[in-house]
C-alpha cells in the first residue's frame, strides 16, 4: 500500500509547492499597497463595484426626474436643476456605468475564458481604473458644487458653448468625460491585444469562446469610436477656455461639426454597450439550453457586421438638421441594414433554445426579459430609421422610450443575467432563486410600465428635456403611470441589491462548475487564485469543459504548460493570432505605484484646466509625461522586468527576446486609436472648409513651404536610417547601436525644431477665425507626436547603451519604429491637406 501512496504524496507535495510558488509571485499585497495591485480579477471587480456605485447615483437622478414629471405643473425642481439632473442621469449611466461595468466584466473574465493568467498590460488595466475613478469623481463633484452640466448628455453646441453656458458645467463634462475615456481606450487596446495574442495553446479563432469574439469587436469599436468624441471635446474646451471659434458660425466654425463628432462616437457607443451584453447572452444561453450554440459562425459574422455597420449610422441622429434627402436615404438604409445582424443573433438564440433542452434558472429569466424588451426596442429602432417617422417623433418621449428599451433591455438585463451566472465564480456561493425572481419580476414589470407607456406620451407630442407640462396637454395619466412604473423598477433593483448583500453570508455553497458550463473560467477554484491557472491548457475543442470535464483538476495539478514559477516572473503564453499556436513566453510586470501616481497627476491636470490655472495644468502634465516614461522604462530586458540570464529556460523564448512580441500589437492598436483621432481632425478641417458658411481661406497660406518640406525631409531621413539600423540589428549587428539611435533622434529633434519655427512664423490668429484655430491644433498635434518620437528614440539610445536593447533583446526599436512610421504618414497627409491643397484648390497663393 505504501508503494502506491508514496508517489501520490509526492505528486501532492509537488502540486502544493507549485501553488505556493505561484502565490508568492502573483499574490495581491494588502494595506496601502493594495493600491498598487495590477491583477485583472481584482481590477475587474473594482471596475464593476465602482460602476455599481455610479449606477445607484444615476438611478436616484432618474427617480428625481420621474418624481418631477409624475404630475403636471410641479415645482419639485426648478428648470435649471431639472436640466442638470437629466444631463447627469444620461452622462452617468452612459459613461460612468454602462461602459466601465462591461469593461470590468471583460477584464475579469477574458483571461479566464482564454485560459491564461492575466491581461497583457496589467499596469494599463490599473491606470485605466484610476482614470475612471478620478474622472468620475471630478464629474460628480460638479453636482455637489451645484454647477453640474445642463446641456443634455450629448452637449450640443451652441447650447454648451461659452455664450449660452458660461458656467463651469460644460467644462466639468468635457474634461471629466475625456479623463474617463482614457480608461475606456486603455481597456480597448489591451483587451484587443490580449484576445489576439494570449489565448491558450490551440485556441484558434474558430475555437474561441463567443464572448471573446464579442469583446474583441467591442474593444476595437472603442479604439475607433472614442477618439472622435475626445477630439470634439478638445475643440469645445479650447473654444470655451481660449475663444478658438470651432463651432461659431460668424468666425468660420459650425455647430453641426460637434453633432457629427459626437454621433460618430455616440451611435457606435450604443453597440459598444450592446455587444458585450449580447456576448453574455450567447455564452449563457447554450449552457442553459444544454447544447452548443446553433450557428456559431453566423453569430461571429453578425458581431463583425455590427461592428462595422454601426459606424455608418451616425447621421440618423441628425435627420432634422437639414441635410439633403439623398444623404438621409443613405443613413436610413444603413440604419435598417444594422437590424440584419441583430436579427441573425436573435434567430441564433431562438434556434438554440428550440433545439436544446432549456432549464429555466434565474439567469435564463433575465435573458428572456432581455429578448422581449430588446426585440421591441429594435423594432422601434427600425421605425425611427424611417426619415418621415423620425421627423414626427424627433425629440419626443418616444425617442426616450426607444433608447431605454434598447439600452436597458439590451444591456442591463443581460448584465443581470451575467451577474447571477458568474456570481458563484466570485463568491463560491449560489444565488437565491426566490429573491432573485422577485427582483426580476419587479424590474421587468416596472420597466415596461415606465417605458412602454412613454411611447404613447411621445406619440402624443410630449417633448423630451422639458421640466414640466400643462394639464391641458393630456399627458397627465401617462406620466403618472410611467412614474409609478419607475418606482416599481427601483424597488426591483433594491431587491436585487438586497439579494446581493445577503448572498455573501447566506448563499448556498456552490459545487464545482455549478451550471455545467463549457468555458474555461469554470475550471477554476471559486473564488479563483490570483494566477487563475496553475498550468495553462492546450485546447482542442470549442467546449473544453464539455470535451474534458477533468481539465480543471489536471491544470490545478500542474499537468499542462508553464507549471513553474521558481524564476519569480509572472509568465503567460503568447500565441499566433489565427491558430493560437504558442510562440513565446510573455513576462508581465508586477504590482506598481506608477499607474495610481500617473492618474493622480492627470487628475491635477484636469482640475488645473477646470479652474483655469494653466501653469499648474502644464506643470502637472509634464510630470505625468515623465511618470509615464519612467513607467515604460521598466520593461523588456530591464533588471526589474526580465534581465538577461545565462540560462533562459526551456525552448520557448521570452517575448522581449523576440523581434515581434505582443508590444508591436499593443503599439499597433494604440496607433489605430491615434489614427481615429487624426481622421477626426482631418474630417474637421475638410468639413469646415467645405460646409461652414463663413469659412475663409487666407489669400496667402501662412505655412512656409520650405519649412514644411524641410521638416518632412528631416524626419524621413531619420526614419530611413532607423529602418536600416533595424534590419542590421535583426541580422545580428549591434555595432554602435546607441550612437546610431542618438543620431536618429537628432533628426527627430531637427524635425521638431523646424515645425516649431513653422508654427512661430505662421503668426496665426486662432481666436479670430476657425481656419487659424484648426491649423494651430493640427500643427500642435504634429509637434507633440514629433517630440514624443524623438524622446522615445533618445531613450532607445540610452537603453542600447545600458544593454537593455541588443541583438539578444531586439524587440523595442521595432515598436518605436511603428510610431515613427505613423508620424511620417500623418505628417505627409497633413502637409498636403493644410499646406498644398489650399494653394492648389483655392484661397492661398
Amino acid at each position: 500500500m505504501s508503494d502506491t501512496q508514496v508517489p501520490g504524496h509526492h505528486a501532492q507535495d509537488k502540486t502544493a509547492q507549485l501553488h505556493r510558488e505561484l502565490e508568492a509571485v502573483w499574490r495581491n499585497p494588502h494595506g496601502w499597497r493594495a493600491l498598487t495591485v495590477v491583477n485583472h480579477s481584482t481590477l475587474g471587480l473594482r471596475f464593476m463595484g465602482t460602476g455599481l456605485a455610479f449606477f445607484l447615483i444615476g438611478g436616484v437622478l432618474a427617480m428625481l426626474i420621474r418624481a418631477q414629471l409624475a404630475l403636471p405643473s410641479q415645482a419639485f425642481m426648478t428648470p435649471e436643476i431639472y436640466n442638470q439632473v437629466t444631463t447627469m442621469h444620461g452622462t452617468v449611466m452612459m459613461f460612468l456605468f454602462a461602459i466601465p461595468v462591461l469593461e470590468g466584466l471583460a477584464i475579469y473574465l477574458i483571461p479566464k475564458m482564454l485560459g491564461t493568467r492575466d491581461l497583457l498590460c496589467p499596469r494599463l488595466t490599473a491606470f485605466g481604473y484610476w482614470c475612471y475613478l478620478f474622472g468620475g469623481i471630478i464629474l460628480l463633484s460638479s453636482m455637489a458644487l451645484e454647477m453640474a452640466p445642463d446641456s443634455g448628455w450629448f452637449m450640443y453646441t451652441p447650447l454648451s458653448s461659452g455664450e449660452y453656458s458660461p458656467g463651469k458645467g460644460s467644462d466639468f463634462w468635457l474634461l471629466g468625460i475625456t479623463f474617463v475615456e482614457i480608461s475606456a481606450l486603455s481597456a480597448g487596446v489591451e483587451l484587443t491585444v490580449s484576445i489576439l495574442r494570449t489565448r491558450a495553446d490551440g485556441m484558434a479563432l474558430h475555437r474561441m469562446p463567443l464572448f471573446a469574439w464579442y469583446i474583441l469587436v467591442m474593444a476595437l469599436m472603442i479604439v475607433v469610436g472614442f477618439p472622435p468624441l475626445i477630439f470634439g471635446s478638445v475643440l469645445l474646451e479650447l473654444e470655451r477656455a481660449t475663444g478658438m471659434p470651432f463651432f461659431i458660425v460668424e468666425q468660420g466654425g459650425d455647430p453641426i461639426l460637434w453633432q457629427h463628432l459626437f454621433w460618430l462616437f455616440g451611435h457606435p457607443e450604443v453597440y459598444i454597450i450592446f455587444l458585450p451584453a449580447a456576448g453574455i447572452v450567447s455564452t449563457l444561453l447554450p449552457v442553459f439550453a444544454r447544447r452548443p450554440i446553433v450557428g456559431y459562425g453566423w453569430a461571429v459574422a453578425a458581431v463583425i457586421i455590427t461592428g462595422f455597420i454601426s459606424f455608418g449610422l451616425w447621421v440618423h441622429h441628425m435627420f432634422t438638421v437639414g441635410i439633403p434627402h439623398l444623404a438621409q436615404a443613405f443613413f436610413s438604409a444603413a440604419s435598417m441594414l444594422v437590424a440584419v445582424p441583430t436579427a441573425i443573433q436573435v434567430f441564433v438564440w431562438l434556434a438554440t433554445l428550440w433545439l436544446g433542452r432549456p432549464r429555466m434558472s434565474l439567469p435564463m429569466l433575465w435573458i428572456l426579459g432581455f429578448l422581449v424588451i430588446f426585440v421591441c426596442g429594435g423594432l422601434t429602432g427600425v421605425m425611427l430609421a424611417l426619415v418621415p417617422f423620425d421627423w414626427q417623433v424627433h425629440d419626443t418621449h418616444f425617442v426616450v422610450a426607444h433608447m431605454h428599451y434598447v439600452l436597458v433591455g439590451g444591456m442591463f438585463f443581460p448584465l443581470m443575467a451575467g451577474l447571477v451566472y458568474w456570481l458563484p465564480l466570485v463568491s463560491g456561493r449560489m444565488p437565491s432563486e426566490r429573491l432573485g425572481r422577485l427582483g426580476f419580476w419587479l424590474t421587468f414589470l416596472g420597466f415596461n410600465l415606465t417605458f412602454l407607456i412613454m411611447h404613447w406620451t411621445g406619440l402624443l407630442g410630449m417633448p423630451r428635456r422639458v421640466y414640466t407640462y400643462d394639464s391641458t396637454m393630456g399627458w397627465d395619466i401617462y406620466n403618472l403611470i410611467s412614474s409609478v412604473g419607475g418606482f416599481m423598477l427601483s424597488a426591483g433593483i433594491a431587491v436585487v441589491l438586497l439579494d446581493l448583500a445577503l448572498h455573501w453570508r447566506y448563499g448556498r455553497p456552490a459545487p464545482p462548475n455549478p451550471w455545467e458550463a463549457d468555458t474555461l473560467e469554470w475550471a477554476l477554484a471559486m473564488p479563483p487564485a490570483p494566477y487563475n491557472f496553475a498550468s495553462l491548457p492546450t485546447i482542442k475543442s470549442r467546449h473544453p469543459l464539455w470535451h474534458n470535464p477533468a481539465l480543471g483538476d489536471e491544470m490545478a495539478r500542474g499537468e499542462h504548460a508553464l507549471a513553474d514559477a521558481s524564476h519569480g516572473r509572472r509568465e503567460i503564453l503568447g500565441g499566433e493570432v489565427l491558430t493560437g499556436r504558442v510562440r513565446e513566453r510573455i513576462h508581465l510586470p508586477t504590482n506598481s505605484w506608477w499607474p495610481l501616481f500617473a492618474a493622480l497627476v492627470l487628475a491635477v491636470v484636469c482640475i488645473g484646466l477646470l479652474v483655469r490655472l494653466y501653469p499648474l495644468a502644464l506643470g502637472a502634465f509634464l510630470v505625468a509625461v515623465v511618470m509615464l516614461l519612467r513607467w515604460a522604462w521598466e520593461n523588456g530586458g530591464h533588471p526589474v522586468a526580465a534581465p538577461l540570464g545565462d540560462e533562459e529556460g526551456d525552448e520557448l523564448p521570452l517575448h522581449s527576446r523576440t523581434q515581434g512580441g505582443p508590444a508591436r500589437y499593443t503599439m499597433g492598436v494604440s496607433l489605430i486609436a491615434d489614427g481615429a483621432f487624426f481622421h477626426s481632425l482631418l474630417f474637421g478641417w475638410f468639413y469646415l472648409w467645405s460646409v461652414s458658411p463663413q469659412w475663409r481661406l487666407p489669400e496667402q497660406s501662412p505655412l512656409d513651404p520650405m519649412l514644411l518640406i524641410g521638416a518632412g525631409i528631416a524626419f524621413a531621413l531619420g526614419m530611413l536610417w532607423l529602418e536600416r539600423r533595424l534590419r542590421r540589428l535583426y541580422a545580428g549587428n549591434e555595432t554602435r547601436l546607441a550612437l546610431a539611435f542618438y543620431l536618429i533622434a537628432a533628426f527627430g529633434g531637427l524635425h521638431v525644431l523646424l515645425l516649431g519655427v513653422l508654427l512661430w512664423q505662421a503668426d496665426l490668429a486662432p481666436t479670430d477665425n476657425a481656419h487659424d484655430a484648426i491649423l494651430l491644433v493640427s500643427l500642435s498635434y504634429l509637434l507633440a507626436h514629433g517630440l514624443l518620437a524623438t524622446v522615445l528614440m533618445v531613450l532607445q539610445g540610452r537603453r542600447a547603451a545600458l544593454g537593455y536593447v541588443s541583438t539578444r533583446l531586439p524587440m523595442e526599436p521595432g515598436v518605436v519604429a511603428l510610431f515613427w512610421r505613423y508620424q511620417l504618414g500623418i505628417y505627409a497627409v497633413l502637409a498636403v491637406s493644410l499646406g498644398v491643397l489650399p494653394r492648389v484648390i483655392g484661397g492661398g497663393a
Partner: protein, 118 residues
C-alpha cells in the same frame, strides 16, 4: 520571384475585415462626395435623379459592387475546396463579403430615385 501577400489568402483574419472596410470606404466616399458637391456646386433640383453626380456615384457603386461580388465568389470557392479551420475562415469571410455586397446595393439604391441636393 513574386512575394506571396499573406493577407490576400482567403483564410487570413484580415479577410474578415476587408469586405466591410470596403463597404465603409464606399459609404464615406459616396456620402462625402455628395456633401461636398452639394456644398460647392449643387445640380439644379429640376434635373431630378438623372444628374452627373448621381451617375458618378452610381458608377462607383457598381464598381464596388462588382469587386465585392468577385471577392465573395473567391472566398466561397475556396471554402468549398478547403477543410477544417481554413474552410471555416474562408466561409466566414465569404459571408461577410456577401453581406457587404448586399449592403452596397441596398444603401446605394436611393441614387436611382432621389435628386442629390434637395
Amino acid at each position: 520571384m513574386i512575394r506571396r501577400v499573406l493577407w490576400l489568402d482567403t483564410e487570413h483574419p484580415m479577410q474578415l475585415a476587408l469586405g466591410l472596410t470596403i463597404w465603409s470606404l464606399w459609404f464615406v466616399t459616396v456620402y462625402g462626395g455628395l456633401s461636398v458637391v452639394c456644398a460647392v456646386s449643387p445640380p439644379a433640383p429640376e434635373e431630378g435623379a438623372f444628374t452627373g453626380l448621381n451617375l458618378v456615384l452610381g458608377g462607383l457603386t457598381l464598381l464596388t459592387l462588382g469587386f465585392l461580388a468577385w471577392l465573395t465568389q473567391r472566398c466561397v470557392a475556396a471554402a468549398r475546396r478547403k477543410r477544417g479551420r481554413l474552410r471555416y475562415m474562408s466561409a466566414l469571410a465569404g459571408g461577410l463579403y456577401l453581406f457587404s455586397t448586399l449592403g452596397v446595393a441596398f444603401v446605394g439604391l436611393p441614387l436611382l430615385l432621389l435628386p442629390p441636393c434637395l
